[in-house]
């Protein structure tokens, strides 16, 4: 199980406080679809997501981006228990959506990049390291029910 020090917890919360879920969520998801286009396979019901401009103008991408980041809020609130908190989501992505778990890592990277655009130098190297530790725990939890 991942253990976070007090300092790491406050670093993660401080960054999270700066994140506007309604902006960063859609930006991160749009980047995933544009930079890693094979991820389009998981969003068959979203309509046109086959060009950058289609992705950036797609209301379902915006809506789903917000859903994804709201879920990350649960992880921030339950840092000591991310695996348990995400067990259901992991099972869902495996059994129902059939998502290749490597994509969770890609999404995590895009979330970091979307946050970097917003908070800029507040994401200094030490903060980035702590944030990555948190996202790695989240990605691990999302992998946990794949067997």
């Amino acid at each position: 199980m991942v253990k976070f020090t007090e300092k790491e917890r406050s670093t993660i919360r401080a960054i999270w406080e700066k994140v506007n879920i309604d902006e960063v969520g859609p930006d991160a998801l749009a980047r995933v679809l544009i930079v890693y286009p094979w991820t389009e396979r998981y969003f068959g019901t979203f309509g046109d997501i086959f060009t950058a401009s289609a992705v950036l103008n797609n209301a379902k991408v915006v809506a789903h981006g917000k859903v994804v980041l709201k879920a990350l809020d649960e992880a921030v609130k339950n840092m000591d228990n991310i695996k348990k908190t995400y067990a259901y989501l992991s099972r869902l992505h495996y059994e129902v959506f059939h998502v290749d778990p490597d994509n969770f890592r890609l999404l995590a990277d895009c979330i970091t990049i979307a946050i970097a655009c917003k908070v800029k130098s507040a994401l200094d190297p030490q903060v980035q390291a702590t944030w990555k530790k948190f996202l790695s725990a989240v990605v691990d939890a999302m992998n946990s029910q794949y067997y």
Partner: protein
Amino acid sequence: MTHLSAKDKDIVKGFWAKMSGKAEDIGTDALSRMLAVYPQTKTYFSHWKDLSPSSAPVKKHGKTVMSGVADAVSKIDDLSGGLLTLSELHAFTLRVDPANFKILAHNLIVVMAIMFPADFTPEVHVAMDKFLGALARALSEKYR
């Protein structure tokens, strides 16, 4: 995997023109982040006295790395041919596990996002990601 389209190349060259004035800062910051966030990369720099963010060896090496990137931008139409010497260096002398090129690329992208938030749109992001991937492949070509 990656073919750089004419559009990709134009985007990379255009964004590089914006970035190049800050190349050294970008290199320093990206390397600092790589060492801090992915500690396994420190294993390649055990000969440095100071691995902390923006230390003297990190700054110096950031500059070296970015002049390599600048060279790659100028040779974007033929990365394997153009980067032959660097490729041999990384393969036979430095022997860097090529997985680390992805790590450095990610950190370069994080720095681009921080320094040029308005310009680093998803379209620029994908073009740079493809370019850095192609660059990494050119550097790994001589490995085996």
